[in-house]
Symmetry: C2
Subunit: 302 residues, 2 copies
């Protein structure tokens, strides 16, 4: 692995992501809006999506990359995290999952009220697109526009929001494995895929390389959701930082309800192997961070 | 007015906007999401923002403009309407204004349930940014990126969403005229301003011209809100298409509560004159549509 130190890599990148989010999520938005936005985003979360963006950009470019590539990737990393954060804020609201605990803290609507949570989620989504299109920047406009387009397609009606709608409509139904995978490919997978693809875009990867990274992101996205379903059954709330057993309580179809616990574990392993194989076929040599992130997705306890 | 026919202009442009929205707001989004999105956007609304975008683009360019300018302006016009529509869907929800009537129809959450309304609003916002960044297009990437940035800054924490937060926090308070104007400049004005500025951007106006159009948009934005406050007191629900008297019922500060009905009418007139004067100083010659839209804002009954 040519001396690659994943612990050092992820620590350095996590610090950089936190600093960027601290700087870019406004403290001075009117009334308590800024406070609610920062509460939803800062000091919590695994930051998997930002790390995927950064790992992907670094995998496709070399260390002599221009400064704008690094800036673009950090903006894309944070934009992705803002979209993820907004989706959690809205997903936790009483009319959706009605959840009171997230990342070990009261959810945004519990802390700030429903109206402020609704607004904070809305403004976090907007801020994601604002981050990608700075007024003054060396990031080529074509890259800015492509990043916005990729993010919008991943987050919108054909991606994350569409997956949420399928999820809403599927409560109490017994879905087939294919239908369940389709739902999660939209709901969770679209953002994970887009993280990898947007990183490749920042690093100006050729289309053939991006195609392999897309396959990696797709397999990883489904694997992530399978593990999520397993953890919802097996994990401890204090470790998971959110309510456990809520899928069963909400009568939602999951990989565990469909395949059983052992079947779900086997499926996660199969998907992780698919992800690794896609990287192996990409022709890229600096994929250690992406490989390590995929391994983490499989082994995570929260 | 060199034979300019505002009725013909607005009818032709309204038809084009409806056709574009029909084509771009998806019917096939999963579950009932597409249906809820289309319900929120189609067959209703004054389309003031789209008309401002189109009028502004046409005012700064000539009839031999390249096709991409027309496409960019239509995308910007529809993106603006989607942001407006999403804000109405969320604003009407029980945790915000709890309104049941909009454009003469049951509000989205009444028709589709709160969860679907939340998602539809979210997906409409995302779709706005998707429209501005088509995968294949002759619109210069720099224009696409600038449009996304302008829209995000107008809709986000320092614009519309910020204004909503001030509005939430101001219930039951007596605001000064300056504070009230600041709130509305964010809440309503930011999108109206951005409509004019994005039109100028599509038409590649020089900065000096855009500055005058910005002043026009600012005055128009506040005038619009003053008239809104007047109509909330004086209009008939069947004409207005939404609940009347709700500001007073919600104990919200308005221009009417602050200035009285006559004072508010005088303020609207003063702002309309400011708007016209900004156009006169722009040096533009084809401003008839913008002038007529400003006159409509002052005289509207709904």
């Amino acid at each position: 692995m040519s001396g690659f130190d994943m612990t050092a890599w992820s620590q350095a990148h996590l610090v950089a992501v936190e600093e960027a989010l601290q700087a870019w999520v406004p403290a001075d938005a009117p009334a308590r809006l800024g406070e609610a936005m920062r509460y939803a985003v800062l000091d919590g979360g695994k930051r998997l999506r930002p790390l995927l963006v950064l790992g992907s950009m670094e995998a496709v470019s070399d260390a002599q990359r221009p400064a704008w590539m690094t800036e673009a990737a950090m903006r894309a990393a944070c934009a992705m995290e803002l979209i993820h954060a907004y989706s959690l804020v809205h997903d936790d609201m009483p009319c959706m999952d009605n959840d009171v605990l997230r990342r070990g803290k009261p959810t945004v609507h519990v802390q700030f009220g429903e109206a402020q949570a609704l607004l904070a989620g809305d403004a976090l989504q907007t801020l994601a697109f604002e981050l990608l299109t700075p007024t003054v920047s060396d990031i080529p406009p074509a890259v800015q526009a492509q990043l916005c387009g990729s993010l919008a397609r991943a987050a919108g009606h054909a991606g994350m929001a569409g997956g949420q709608a399928i999820d809403l409509a599927s409560v109490g139904l017994r879905l087939s494995a294919d239908a369940l995978r389709q739902m999660h490919r939209c709901k969770t997978g679209a953002l994970l895929e887009a993280s990898v693809v947007m990183g490749a875009l920042c690093g100006q990867a050729p289309a053939s390389v991006t195609a392999h990274l897309l396959q990696f992101g797709q397999a990883l996205g489904v694997a992530f959701q399978v593990v999520d379903d397993i953890l919802d059954v097996t994990a401890d709330a204090s470790v998971l930082g959110k309510t456990v057993g809520k899928d069963a309580a909400n009568d939602k179809p999951t990989y565990v309800s469909l395949l059983g616990l052992d079947g779900a574990r086997a499926e996660a392993k199969r998907l992780a192997e698919q992800a690794h194989s896609a990287l192996d076929h990409s022709g890229l040599t600096h994929t250690q961070a992406l490989q390590a992130l995929a391994a983490w997705v499989l082994q995570r306890q929260h």
